[in-house]
Symmetry: C2
Subunit: 419 residues, 2 copies
């Protein structure tokens, strides 16, 4: 299962995939063209929202402290996450611990449409950079803040990491083997779930501003953003009077049987019979007329009563086949099934490359596949991915363009360690 | 850990929590006020995006087939997920298998801003209801489609369920015990992650339309929407040359030690030392000056080398205390820690109730806590949650208001089983 990384075809920076455009029309600009964003985001939550804006056409200026976003270099996942989340952004260094640095940020906000940050809620107001300070300068600004728990309520000042929120949201309590301990999801879903909502809130305020001419404070918290996936578990808790037990890979309430992973000769597949019809088709796929003829299994309640026997029969069948074989047979018989893939396989996925979602890029460390935005706009070309800025790469250009500074003023700022 | 459901204070429908508004200003309307949405969504992905629109102020008309959205009544999680995702919507039944039903949908789209659907990609075009059919009637419409794999590429016609995407995205490969099998996340994160992106794509096109006057097709797929959380695992794969192993509750790359769950007298807590400073504070919190004095542990690489010993020492300390005690001590010493909660505890969370994210409602089945949107807009009151519509509750009202039908025409449609 741990396949070596294999770069898909065409490992160069050229974007050879195009969106499907209507042939009779010239490509349209991306929808956020002309929008300027000051991105004070760090690590995943803020930078992801700003990345989604960049890929929708916005001009994103990433503003970093003198030591840089901490995700520029991390222990063992290298700079790949940083590279993936900060392409198509300009890079400016501003030391917000200096008076002049703060003045420059307020000055930059004059021509900006959005300022987004995901510091702890107290940080920006303590610097004299609360929303009101920006609205005095630019009442059309969308001031967007994200954090672990939000800026109000009893937990407002608690520190939050992805793992914290996975634990407190209830997510971990639903994940794990029956009778086993609760487990985290191995990927930081709290960071990215809140980042996706953060993007939505920001664009909503931009929409409104087109109608009213006024900016807004918008806010997203990780804990609230991760609540919705828990709705089925919450429903089960209300129905049964207690929080649901962990069920491994089976359905939280055995509402579907089978609904599980099954071991193959080369890994795992998932198979789900969401309807009795799926079960009937699965017995044909497995060439098991005896199971098809078993009246006690043709309805869900019967399969629930004999779930272990059903699981064993399917497992015997899959164990003698590869993931690809089982998936193909099930697809032919219209039974929902899927190979369980590792991340190396996903990075080389022909579907994601064919759609232009993943494109290959050469880096110092070798070829990597980088993602575009999951939000697609017909008739527009996807934005070509540029590398992320070096630390402070565009400081001088941005301060001269947007703050009207000349070269010697920039030199002076550098000497004073403001930039 | 499986606490009985306890409704938090005030189990009635009155919204007693208010957003923090600036005292000098009257509340502002919610940002999507005046936007009309035709919601053909089913189960979670589509209905969640439409719910987020409703809670941001939009008028959402949920359009169901004669047998209703299948999530109206599900096996064991009752109608709670349906109730939570379809409040503040109007309900219309339209039989799109009839000519007249399709005509009425096209007619409704004349006054709509958005039509969203998450059928398999082939369904709407096959009915003669592809995007172009709607643009002929209303070129300002945002036509929004979501699916498992998107409408192009080799997997376009594959069926997808949340579990399918968890398997194919690589997410399951990252979750589980070291040496154990891959596990699903116990909550449908693929459905909701794509639902959140779907919302963002729709509002982006609405923003653009304010500037250009033109609608758009926007598209989100579950597989692409679930990619970003895999970035750290992908980075690890590129650095090491192979997909990462599962690590239980530890960090994917042991980049932080400790970063784990620890058993308490009454459940589990997570404790993370993201910096050496956190470790120093943790030794103080544990009153373990011997650990503080151990030079080999004060730096990350030393703790990585002795990860099992570090884990044992912390585990001994937590096992003699409750989750609340450990969390409180860590908070006092500014060490990131959090209690691992089950969904019943989350539903009664004082923080989520204090912020007005959860509010209590009386239903036939008893009191339940229902969520608002995680997207918050300062200066506006959150929209009060209304119950979801009964099947077809507003069919007559909507068809008379928006399609100009009179009562006898509606009766005729009913007789013909169009509505």
């Amino acid at each position: 299962m741990s396949a070596q990384i294999t770069a898909a075809s065409n490992p160069n920076r050229v974007q050879d995939m195009k969106s499907e455009t209507r042939p009779d029309l010239a490509p349209r600009p991306l929808p956020l063209t002309g929008v300027r964003v000051l991105d004070l985001g760090q690590v995943f939550q803020g930078p992801y929202a700003a990345f989604l804006m960049a890929m929708a056409g916005a001009e994103v200026i990433k503003i970093e402290p003198p030591h840089g976003d901490m995700s520029r270099r991390r222990a063992r996942d290298g700079d790949y996450p940083f590279r993936a989340l900060n392409g198509c952004k300009r890079g400016v260094v501003l030391n917000l611990k200096t008076e002049r640095g703060r003045e420059l940020l307020l000055d930059l906000s004059r021509s900006a449409d959005v300022l987004l940050e995901n510091f702890a809620p107290a940080v920006m107001p303590r610097l004299g950079l609360g929303p009101e300070d920006f609205f005095e300068v630019n009442p059309r600004l969308v001031y967007a803040r994200a954090s672990g728990f939000g800026s109000s309520g009893p937990y407002a000042d608690k520190r939050a990491l992805d793992l914290t929120i996975q634990a407190m949201s209830g997510l971990m309590s639903t994940t794990g083997e029956p009778g086993g301990r609760p487990l985290k999801t191995g990927a930081p879903v709290a960071d990215f779930m809140s980042g996706a909502h953060f993007y939505g809130a920001i664009v909503t305020a931009l929409f409104e501003r087109e109608r009213t001419g006024r900016g807004r404070v918008v806010e997203v918290s990780m804990l609230e953003a991760l609540f919705a996936p828990l709705l089925p578990a919450a429903g089960h808790a209300y129905e049964s009077g207690h929080a649901p037990q962990r069920t491994g890979n089976r359905h939280v309430a055995d509402s579907y049987v089978p609904f599980d992973t099954f071991e193959c000769a080369d890994g795992w597949v998932t198979i789900v019979c969401a309807t009795d019809e799926h079960w009937a088709r699965l017995t044909v796929a497995m060439e098991r007329s005896d199971l098809a003829a078993d009246d006690s299994l043709c309805r869900l309640h019967g399969r629930i009563a004999r779930i272990e026997a059903v699981t064993d029969e399917i497992g015997k069948w899959t164990s003698e086949r590869t993931r690809a074989e089982v998936s193909a047979i099930c697809e032919r018989h219209q039974v929902p099934a899927a190979p369980l893939r590792d991340v190396s396989e996903v990075l080389a996925d022909p579907h994601l490359h064919a759609r232009g979602f993943l494109t290959n890029h050469l880096t110092d460390g070798g070829p990597v596949a980088l993602p575009n935005s999951p939000m697609r706009y017909d008739e527009s070309e996807p934005r070509a991915l540029n590398p992320p800025p070096a630390l402070g790469e565009h400081t001088e250009a941005v301060l001269t363009e947007l703050c009207g500074l000349d070269r010697s003023a920039v030199e002076e700022l550098r000497r004073m360690r403001v930039i």
